[in-house]
């Protein structure tokens, strides 16, 4: 397993009904990485928020556009990229949902959750696409598998 790398890429119509498929694929790959119940849930939430943002904010719910998901398993981390075909956005310009004046706002917490659940979150531009959100999470160490994790020796 150590040197093998899994890489999964899919492109889908930018439709909210596909969010579940995106989640299932991400979960399946994450399970292969040995993440336990908590890690899997955090990855699920991050991918969910990110896909919805790509479809709603990036692609503005335009069904003619596409959303891309790419998952790469590196020896130390799982890297997830979500692409849209929208105008560029800078996450540093987004209002802080923890500011007192934003605390009671009905939206604006998705990126906060992604940042809480993943080890890295950044946004770049992707050629022929638009925004590319890159999220990574360190793999659970094989000697101390996370509670409820799938032992990697079973693969």
């Amino acid at each position: 397993m150590a040197k093998e790398t899994i890489r999964v890429e899919i492109t889908l119509e930018s439709n909210l009904k596909h969010v579940e498929l995106i989640e299932v694929i991400a979960q399946t790959v994450a399970k292969q990485c040995g993440f336990g119940e908590d890690g899997l849930h955090e990855i699920l939430m991050a991918v969910h928020e990110c896909a919805i943002n790509a479809i709603c904010h990036g692609n503005k719910e335009d069904l003619q556009k596409q959303v891309g998901l790419s998952l790469s398993v590196h020896p130390d981390r799982l890297e997830i990229r979500v692409r849209d075909q929208g105008k560029s956005f800078n996450p540093n310009d987004v209002p802080d949902p923890l500011d007192k004046e934003n605390l009671m706002k009905p939206a604006g917490r998705g990126i906060l959750l992604i940042q809480a659940f993943m080890d890295e979150f950044r946004v770049g531009r992707c050629e022929n696409w638009g925004n590319e959100v890159i999220m990574t999470k360190r793999l659970p160490s094989p000697s101390q598998p996370e509670k409820g994790g799938v032992g990697r020796e079973h693969q």
């Binding site: 909210l16 928020e49 923890l98 605390l103 009671m104 009905p106 939206a107 917490r109 906060l112 959750l113």
Partner: protein, 118 residues
């Protein structure tokens, strides 16, 4: 749709038990309509039991905040009961633990509304 709700009255408090997920789409709409229905009936004291909620996304968190705001605007109170660890963590990350009154015991929660509320 993956959300269900049951409603019961304990003293003057309406306890709404939710199960499933509070997520973008139909699930959030269900919560909004449940709260709106209660407010239109004049309910002022609402206790949301989230013990059987497995999953809330950012849209669902926003819906809880909106519910809180609309109940407060009508002069009522909305409080939360039985958060799972996952849901509690979410409210911690979003600092909403400082906004919501959160209880682990239904009787205590009901009592906290006081006797003046209807």
């Amino acid at each position: 749709m993956s959300i269900n709700s049951t409603t019961k009255k304990v003293d003057s408090v309406t306890v709404i038990g939710l199960s499933g997920k509070i997520t973008i789409g139909e699930e959030c709409k269900h919560l909004r309509e449940t709260i709106r229905g209660q407010l239109s009936e004049g309910t002022k004291s609402i206790l949301l039991n989230l013990g059987d909620i497995s999953y809330i996304d950012s849209t669902g968190i926003g819906e809880l905040v909106s519910s809180f705001t609309s109940v407060s605007r009508q002069g009522g109170q909305l409080k939360l009961l039985n958060l799972t660890k996952k849901v509690h963590d979410l409210l911690q990350i979003t600092k909403l633990v400082t906004v919501f009154d959160i209880f682990e015991d239904e009787a205590k929660a009901v009592k906290s509304f006081g006797s003046t509320q209807a």
